[in-house]
Symmetry: C2
Subunit: 184 residues, 2 copies
Amino acid sequence: MPRTPGQRAGLTYDAVLAAARDVFAERGRAGLSMRSVAAHLGVAPNALYSHVADKTALVDALLDDVLGSLAPPPADADPRTGLREVMLATFDLLVTHPGLVPTYLERQGARGPRARALGEAMTVLLARLGVDEDAAGRVVRALIVHTLGYAALATADDASLTPDQLRADLEVTLDWLLVGASRS
Amino acid sequence: MPRTPGQRAGLTYDAVLAAARDVFAERGRAGLSMRSVAAHLGVAPNALYSHVADKTALVDALLDDVLGSLAPPPADADPRTGLREVMLATFDLLVTHPGLVPTYLERQGARGPRARALGEAMTVLLARLGVDEDAAGRVVRALIVHTLGYAALATADDASLTPDQLRADLEVTLDWLLVGASRS
DNA sequence: CCGTCGAACTGTACGGTGTCCAGCATAATG
DNA sequence: CATTATGCTGGACACCGTACAGTTCGACGG
C-alpha cells in the first residue's frame, strides 16, 4: 500500500471528498481528521493538501454534499405545505446524520451550491405566498435558522426530548412563521 | 512564578472560572485552552483538574456565567414586549461575545442555573399570554432556538449581513412566533 | 505536639491534531 | 529527448486534552 516515494496515487478532489464521506459515515464527526481521511486513501496526510485547501474547506464541501440528497420542493406545490415539507425533510436528514449538526451550526449554515439551489426553490414558493423577493431572503433565513436549531436540539447528547416530539413542535412553529410571513 | 513542587497556589473553582473568563476575553474562544488558562494562573495545566472535571465542564460554567449579565424580564411587564425584550437582549449579549456563539450552539443551549432562571421568568410571562405550562416549554424552546440561530448568523465570519439588519429581522420573526403562540 | 492522611500541585508523557517544508520520482510539455 | 510542473513522501513544528506517579503542604485525630 505505501508506494515508494514519487509514485502517484492518482487522487482527485472527488476522491478526497468521497473518502471524507466514508470516514464520516464510519467514524462520525470526531473521527474525521485529515489523517483518517488520508489513511482511508492509503496516502500520507499532506497529500490531501494538493487537492483541498484546508480542513474547513473539506468539511464545507462535505456538508454541501450531504445536502444533495434533499429533493427541492416542486415549484407548483402548495406554497405553505411545500415549504413546510422541505424544512421537515431537512430536519429529518440532519437527524439521521447527528454528528453533522454541530458542524453545520459552527459554519452557520452551508453556503455551497446545493444549499443555494434549495434557497432559490424556496424563494419561488414564497413568491406565490405573496412574499416579495427581498423579504423572501429574510423568511428563508428564518426558516433555516429555526429548523437547524431544532435539529441541534434533537441531536443533543442530553436528549431530554425525543426527535419525534421536536419534529412535531417544529411543524407547529414553522407554521407560525409561515403565517406571519404571508400576513406581512 | 513557578513554585517549588508541593507549594500551593491556592486555586479555587471560582479563580479558575475567572481566569477562563479573562483568557476568553483576551484571546477569544480559540485561545481558550486548559494550558492558556493554567498559564494565566501561573500553574501547571493539570492543576486545573483538581477544580474542574473537564474542559467541557469549564466551558459550560463559563457559558452560564456570561448569561448572568442578563436581566430577567419583570413579571408585571407586558408579556409580548417583555418576551421580545429578553430575547433581543440575549441576542445583543451574544453578539458582543462573538466567539461564544458557536460553543453555545455546540452545547445546544446552556443548561446552567442562570439559563433555567431565565426560562422560568419567560414561562411566567407566557402564562399571562394564555399559554399553559406544558406548551410554555415548547414556546420557550422555539424562542431560544430562534434567537440563538440569529446570533449565529450575526457573528458568522462571512457576515454578509450586519448585526443590525439581523436584529431587525429577529424582532419581526420573534413577533410571528409570539403571535402564533398566543393564538393557539 | 506528633503522626497520619488527603488534597493540591508538579514534571513527564502519550497520543492526537492541522499544516508547513524540502526532496524526489513521475507525468506532461516543449 | 530535455525541461518543467505536479503529486506525493518523510519529517517536523507547535499545539491540544488529559492520565500517571510523585512530592509537599494544610488540617485534623490522638
